[in-house]
């Protein structure tokens, strides 16, 4: 049971306070928390659950805004954390992004939302679809609509029917002029390549995102050509369990709009699309660095937005780096970022240069880890393929669209 929610700005100022139960949590808890944050340099270094002298504190940080919740009683930890994450998602969805100004400008909406999302410390509903029916989005459209209809309230006059329906994620019978549904496979590749250049871990985390604009109560079935490659799956509540259990078919009545239908993991991939080979040799106070990047196994589509980023060790005084392709920049905090973009066909991009060590140091003992980024449109590197998407219970034939995208997640190369 959460007792209070605070929103803090990136300077620790309380932007919003929502007391949830009879027990009033004093604001001084925020000061205590902020002291901890300052002592740790930033709040991402603090664990998400902290025991303060008076309360347990849950905290998450999104775009510089800290969402803080307090409780004095034992409760499931993820209930607190997950709820705060949902609050952040819903606010960012409503306000079109999160930052200090947008929250301060729309604090009434934030209060209204919190009021519907949690009562007496227990989360009620965090479904964006349902909330949107209770509290209108603060966007231009609704403003214009307000002026035209003379109804200046941002609250709909009717309560969401869905709260009483057996399809709680779907508002009652939405109507769309154009019926269309898009299915996207979004994959992230996590990989670790160790100092000896061996791929120690390579895994894909994927999501099936669906954007549905279908009228009425459509019933969808989605099947994959090769579902057996999936190691573990998690579903949106709309997915029926039995068809998946028996035939690996996703059968569901979708929420209206964008939602994450399913997430999955594919383990033990054998190779990565690109290679990054760093080499560091140090001697007599200087260190020679070279990094080679190239295509290891061609995925069949262009690999783009290739970047290599690394933190120079603190003992490096200065660095002189150049590349034969793309741009290299070294930021003030000694982060070096090399953006390559698309890998050219005729030459392998390389970065080279020298690093000067602190005086008195002969050789380098701390080696940087290279974080690699890339994007490949049109390919799901796990190999997962959508077979068919059937739509029942819809009068007209809808438009169906499919896309795939793979990008680097936690892709690191150690040196």
């Amino acid at each position: 049971m959460l007792q209070c929610i605070f929103l803090l700005s990136d300077s620790g100022e309380v932007m919003l306070e929502k007391q949830l139960t009879g027990h009033r949590v004093d604001r001084s808890i925020c000061d205590w928390f902020w002291e901890q944050t300052v002592s740790q340099a930033d709040s991402t270094k603090l664990p998400p659950v902290i025991a303060s002298p008076t309360h347990y504190i849950f905290q998450i940080t999104r775009e510089g805004i800290t969402f803080l919740a307090c409780t004095q009683v034992e409760m499931p930890p993820l209930m607190g954390i997950e709820f705060l994450c949902r609050v952040a998602d819903v606010l960012s969805d409503y306000l079109g992004g999160l930052n200090e100004d947008v929250i301060k400008d729309n604090f009434v909406i934030v209060y209204e939302l919190l009021d519907e999302m949690i009562d007496n410390g227990f989360p009620l509903t965090t479904e964006p679809n349902i909330l949107r029916e209770m509290i209108a989005l603060p966007n231009i459209v609704s403003k214009v609509l307000g002026v035209v209809t003379g109804n200046s309230s941002n609250v709909s006059n009717t309560l969401p029917g869905a709260t009483a329906s057996c399809v709680p994620w779907r508002s009652t019978e939405p109507k769309h002029a154009n019926n269309e549904v898009y299915v996207d496979l979004l994959e992230e590749m996590d990989a670790v390549i160790n100092r000896d250049g061996i791929l120690v871990k390579c895994e894909i985390y994927g999501e099936v995102e669906v954007n549905s604009h279908l009228s009425g109560l459509p019933d969808l079935t989605l099947s994959f050509a090769n579902p057996s490659i999936l190691n573990d799956v998690r579903f949106h509540p709309c997915v029926r369990f039995r068809p998946w259990e028996s035939n690996n078919i996703l059968s569901f009545v979708p929420p209206d709009g964008q939602f994450k239908l399913m997430s999955y993991r594919v383990k033990k991939l054998r190779s990565t699309p690109i290679y990054v080979k760093p080499q560091l040799t140090s001697d007599a106070g200087t260190c020679r660095l070279s990094v080679l990047v190239g295509i290891r196994s061609d995925p069949g589509k262009t690999i783009d937005s290739v970047t290599v980023q690394f933190q120079l060790p603190p003992c490096i005084l200065s660095a002189n780096l150049s590349s034969n392709h793309g741009t290299v920049s070294i930021l003030a905090n000694k982060t070096c970022s090399w953006s390559i973009g698309r890998i050219p066909k005729d030459k392998a991009p390389s970065l080279s240069g020298t690093l000067t060590l602190e005086t008195g140091m002969e050789r380098l003992h701390v080696f940087p880890t290279f974080q690699v980024g890339f994007r490949i449109m049109g390919v799901a590197l796990s190999g997962l393929q959508i077979d068919t998407l059937d739509i029942k219970n819809l009068p007209s034939r809808p438009y169906k669209g499919f896309r795939a995208l793979t990008q680097a997640g936690q892709y690191e190369v150690r040196s």
Binding site: S11, E13, V14, L16, Q19, G22, T44, K45, P47, P48, I50, A51, I60, E74, P76, P77, L78, M79, I81, E82, L84, C85, D101, K104, N106, F107, V108, Y111, D115, D119, N120, F122, L124, T125, T126, E127, P138, S152, S153, N154, N157, T163, P168, D190, N194, Y205, N231, D232, V233, R234, H236, S263, Y264, R265, H365, F367, P368, T369, Q371, Q410
Partner: protein
Amino acid sequence: MAPPAQSQRSPSPSQPSGKGEVSDLKLQLRQHAGSRAPGADDAKRELFKKVISYMTIGIDVSSLFGEMVMCSVTSDIVLKKMCYLYVGNYAKGNPDLALLTINFLQKDCKDEDPMIRGLALRSLCSLRVANLVEYLVGPLGSGLKDSNSYVRTVAASAVLKLYHISASTCVDADFPAILKHLMLNDQDTQVVANCLSSLQEIWSSEASTSEEASREREALLSKPVIYYFLNRIKEFSEWAQCLVLELVANYVPSDNSEIFDIMNLLEDRLQHANGAVVLATIKVFLQLTLSMADVHQQVYERIKAPLLTLVSSGSQEQSYAVLSHLHLLVMRAPILFSSDYKHFYCQYNEPSYVKKLKLEMLTAVANESNTYEIVTELCEYAANVDIPIARESIRAVGKIALQQYDVNAIVDRLLQFLEMEKDYVTAETLIDTSLEFSHVVLVKDLLRKYPQWSHDCIAVVGNISSKNVQEPKAKAALIWMLGEYSQDMHDAPYVLESVVDNWDDEHSAEVRLHLLTAVLKCFLKRPPETQKALGAALAAGLADFHQDVHDRALFYYRLLQYNVSVAERVVNPPKQAVSVFADTQSSEVKDRIFDEFNSLSVVYQKLPPASNVISSVITSHLSAQLVMEFPYKSLGGVIFSQGCILSWPCAFVGKKSKEGMESSSFVLILDLIKGEKSESL
């Protein structure tokens, strides 16, 4: 909505002091109070927003209470909401004024719009003013019977609010019984869930005084009620599902087939997108099968994949909470996770609290088949920029070494660390190597299996000049090794002598204690070379201001006076393997935490503070704790653990801790007694 005026956007210190602005607002609110002119609502809205924003930034606007209430006569729902918010915030501090709001809230509770009815009821019960409860009963009663489920949802949780303001009013109005009826019959599952959560709390706190309440509380866990919830579980919202699952976790099924029924019914919850639901389900599974060893094992296998996916999906914060639970399971059954070790590899930009958990898990799951890979991975972290993590990882290598898998490779790694020139790496390695080293040497003594390693170690350690080592623990470890292996290290006496010469520069008592022991050990092995150093060390020790150092010096002095061969037995007893180190968390504490699966204590790894368990656990584990501390935290223990301290009698430990005595002579005397005993055997 238009942004509020610039003035409120700027944070402190340029914040308005409030006074002038508040009285200004007061005037304006008054002007608009009775106005029904077109556009009045818009003007009011701007004013209300200002008031609320002042309230939000912490300016006291309670003096506007009267005006706010006057302005609240409106049909505009946004205005109403702002007004409810304001009233809810200040009513408690202004009970007299709160009376003013009752009238309009009661009226709103009868509004034709269900949303307004609901909101008004929620605000009415959130006023939390004790002398107004009589006004709540009526609206609450009709709220519970409202035709609209939204209102009933609000009413169900409002009953709990009323209970907290005045328990007797709530019970007298028979609300618990109405809630129970709603819980078992309402169409809307959110109403059902709110009834459940309210009833749980009401009956739990009533149970101590009323027998009926405690019976009702028991009845919540009866088979029909549990099955009623389970059969409807898919209709519940994800948060309500958590609530139901928490309840089910406390249910004790009558037989095994029931257990399997429940697990089959809930299996798909493991694939829910909401991590809280997944964890709550796992808790149910673990609790149900606790007494069925083989099924319990299968449950571990079943929940592994969902947990691992949860770790890699959500945000960093969610992933940490899940990881903490995974950590608990890994520590309990490391074997089951030994093939998943790659999931516990640290990623570069993970926060260090995550890395720490992962390192512990990597240590736990190491076995014959994966040790080489794990140690290789851990060694990569030693060059990490994050120094505490680098230290932890070296420590982890040492711990794995003590588990006896693939010792050769690990000793090799540790020696490589010693050759790195970083101070902290050396420090950790020395401590680990010393543990490891004693272990290896003992293994040699017992099995004559790894002679090559002890010599390699000696060669490397001999090359480390004590001046290069600053960290007290590392220095203590180095000194200990010099004493322990003085017969193999050529210049040990001379190194020790130079350290003794700088006695006064040595600030750490721990190091000085070790120095005394090391010099004595060295003396017993190589008397002529060490005599001078021993004299100097004992003299310095006797003059030392630190009680322990003084005591130990005196003790050694008398011991040598009494009988050198007894001294030999005390200081250089026959060696025994340091085979098992008590873990930092004893298994019983882990079991206790296991009961608390899916509670906050797992995430920050402490038992719930209110629990009395702590004290009992501490007393029962004191011995383990102290024994652990000796060989591990202060290397002093290692010296003795060679002898016999690992099997300390509990009574002695208890006594020692009670009196808070830290004097090492006590320990030594005990040592002596033991030594005598082993001789007589």
